[in-house]
Symmetry: C2
Subunit: 484 residues, 2 copies
């Protein structure tokens, strides 16, 4: 029996379909856009399940915001993310699998708080969630922050599980900025700063100025990525930046660096990913980029409006990370933990990340939001002086003479455009949020931003990569069960 | 005397520079990205000044959001913008120059207001700015809206001239959403809706849901694009959509359609604009796209962080425009102006735009924000039924039987992604606004969004195109005066 064209198909259409069938029989089962942590994890999972994958990465290196370098001293520093916490079980499993060892974040001694010219040392910490001793601010100031904190956690506890849904209570939270809530719920400058600094320090919040983030996004972040679970408990020997390379070693020639994806076409039968170097046919695609970067790709056919619009509405946080290395962790001599927080001109948060296996003392500092904007306008030497002056204010004049000084200027980084992660301004979760995770035909989405747990952290990247790979695997297997 | 390479230049560098000089001597003086109204106006002005220009447009037609079609009846409808007002002198001058005639927006009769099941007809109108008779709501409701309106206009009057600057008063306005201000300043559901509908109707505001826009942006919009100056006073015989073609006729072969610009490189000597079809060298470039679309181009070197981040943070409004034509303007029989406003399920605002030279009656309706999201999920027939049911609620059952029905689904339109214009969520003007107009090396910016007057309207597009062309002309002339 010969198969004849169905009525209504002309010769051109028949040819087109045969070509499509041939093309697809030789095509990759899953094309992955982005070799950041989520894309690499997705690729690895598909490959281990016996599926063919190709990964396309714009940059000349894998890892995205998971990236570091080796200092002359031999020590590793992470220029991107670096911390992990005990409840982040997906990234911990990945580290264990590659036998990458961790160490507790150094916290031997007191935290320094600098607030409006006042300095205090205390055995505690806060970044939203408060722990240990209270800092040496007035009782009224601390009470103000803690009263507001209780209200804030109550808001968070009242959220339903899962992604924020567009019901009236959430729409109300989503139509306000975090700044607005702070103004309403704090009475003292300290109370006000306590929460503003939180907006500029916590990963899932961009970070951003509190006037730029949806209150709902902050409250949601507190529920799915709570500081109370200590996401900065541990650090990684030889740096988190080694992980992408370990995964790439397993993926081998399937990772294509320096190939920005310009265009993704899809038909009922498959997808084609196009870079300047060529067109790559596949059955499915996983776009493992922050949503605003997915938005820079041209899709054919055009994405559903809600998907395009959610990509337009999310933006990368405004944050530079500074890594400063000293001959030794000199702050410990005076009983300091190397943890500094305060409304300083530049560095509102810094932390000790010295590896106990090495003698150097290493501090990580963050310059966020409007502070970043002012800092980015300075010349190179002035930027360094500004950072070191703030570190000296926290820990003493030895901070002025580092062995090395590294700036990770993420907002100015090609193919990244900001850090830690993309966040939601007001009104986006409840009007466009549903489009964030929903596949579009054969295109699935990954990336820490869309993780259901620990968005904005490594763990969220692993989870979302695994979730996307599981979904695509399910579809490939379902295709194979279908009669030809 | 022979010129020798400066010390420190190796042979490769010398070659590179000579090649650069040769390349630039044959290059276009200004490359323009985008053949929307602002890009075309800029190109025209440069060409008339004797400068060489090339315009690259992604779509197969010019005009962007200035676009229409001819109905079978012979009448033109505008699927994009259509209105102009008496103080919009730059677009009026353009229309006059091309001898394109206008007619007053039809307003013979009463406006219909539908609010929570109540219907009233009144000789007045409001879209923020109230005029004529008050509608038939209760005195308390109207008073509520008018009291808040007085407070709103006071906020606007207090703004300094020019783009919003990042001083504390503006930062405060910019850290709130318009929804937040509405909740604080209105007591009745009508008062609340009066301003929410304004957010979803006025061009410069996206349009967007009030919970998505910065209060500062709304207040600023009221000052630089005030409804009190009647920006919808006049309509254009044969449609605004003819204008891009009239300008293109003058530009001729210099307009390249179907050539999306993927990449823009610049050196000290010039710029290169790259499309899939080729690389085009030039001395200057004007990127005449909405900022979120400029953000989809790859720039080499990377744009300054503040510029990249402002592009990430603006997004296109969520609005579909529906054009419905009837055998005659039947609403006039019952004394109605064809103006309908109300908290209907889909069409919150519709207006008569029937050309007095023709017999057909034509209504323009808008579906905005969350209404759009619900509507976009419907199937084609249900979308039409939904729109016509709302029109019938305003003007009677004759609305159910149109001669033609056109949807301009702007959020789903390739290379547009929304309408009327890109807007500012909270915290963007005061943290990133300065980067919006500032040239980056040889790259200048245009587009209605960045106009100092009438942003979001045709007039803003003309103004910003003219401003960019004037700046580039000044630079070209200054280059020519420099010794070689």
């Amino acid at each position: 029996m010969t198969r004849t064209p169905r009525p209504g198909l002309n010769a051109t259409e028949v040819c087109r379909r045969y070509i499509e069938v041939i093309r697809m029989s030789t095509s990759t089962e899953c094309l992955i856009v982005g070799a950041g942590l989520s894309g690499l994890v997705a690729a690895r999972q598909l490959l281990r399940a016996g599926r063919s994958v190709q990964v396309f990465e714009a940059r000349s290196r894998p890892g995205g915001r998971m990236h570091g370098r080796r200092l002359d001293s031999g020590a590793w520093i992470d220029l991107g993310g670096q911390w992990v916490g005990p409840s982040q079980d997906r990234i911990l499993a990945l580290l264990d699998e590659y036998q990458v060892a961790r160490f507790p974040s150094p916290a031997h001694g007191s935290t320094v708080l600098l607030f409006e010219g006042r300095r205090c040392e205390f055995r505690g910490f806060f970044q939203g969630f408060p722990e240990g001793e209270a800092p040496g601010v007035t009782a009224e100031e601390w009470q103000d922050a803690m009263t507001a904190w209780a209200r804030f956690t109550a808001l968070s506890s009242a959220l339903e599980p899962g992604y924020p849904q567009p019901h009236p209570r959430n729409v109300e939270l989503d139509s306000r900025t975090f700044a607005d809530w702070i103004n309403e719920n704090t009475q003292t400058p300290f109370g006000h700063w306590y929460f503003s600094y939180m907006a500029r320090a916590v990963g899932v919040l961009g970070p951003a100025e509190p006037g730029q983030i949806s209150l709902l996004h902050v409250v949601y972040g507190q529920r799915v990525a709570p500081q109370a679970e200590h996401p900065e408990a541990d650090l990684i020997h030889e740096g988190a930046g080694q992980i992408p390379h370990l995964i790439c070693a397993e993926l081998g020639h399937r990772v294509h660096l320096g190939q920005p994806v310009q265009r993704i076409e899809q038909t009922d039968e498959g997808v084609t990913v196009e870079t300047a170097q060529g067109r790559h046919p596949g059955r499915y695609a996983i776009v493992a980029l922050p949503p605003p970067w997915a938005g820079r790709i041209t899709f054919e056919p055009t994405l559903p409006a809600a998907r395009d619009q959610v990509q337009q509405r999310m933006s990368m946080g405004t944050c530079a990370k500074i890594m400063v290395a000293y001959g030794r962790p000199f702050w410990r001599d005076r009983g300091l933990a190397g943890l500094g927080i305060g409304n300083q001109p530049w560095i509102e948060l810094c932390a000790d990340c010295s590896d106990p296996h090495r003698s150097q003392g290493i501090l990580a500092g963050f310059i966020v939001g409007d502070r970043y904007q002012r800092w980015a306008r300075l010349k190179s030497a002035a930027r360094r002086d500004a950072v070191l002056a703030d570190l000296a204010a926290y820990f003493g004049a030895e901070a002025l003479i580092p062995e090395s000084y590294d700036e990770a200027d993420w907002p100015h980084e090609p193919w990244v455009g900001g850090a830690f992660s993309a966040y939601m301004p007001p009104g986006v979760w409840t009007s466009y949020g549903a489009a964030l995770t929903q596949p579009v035909g054969r295109i699935h989405w990954a990336g820490t931003e869309i993780a259901a747990r620990w968005p904005g952290f490594f763990d969220g990247a692993v989870r979302s990569g695994e979730a996307a790979a599981t979904e695509v695997l399910r579809r490939i297997e379902s295709d194979l069960r279908r009669p030809p």
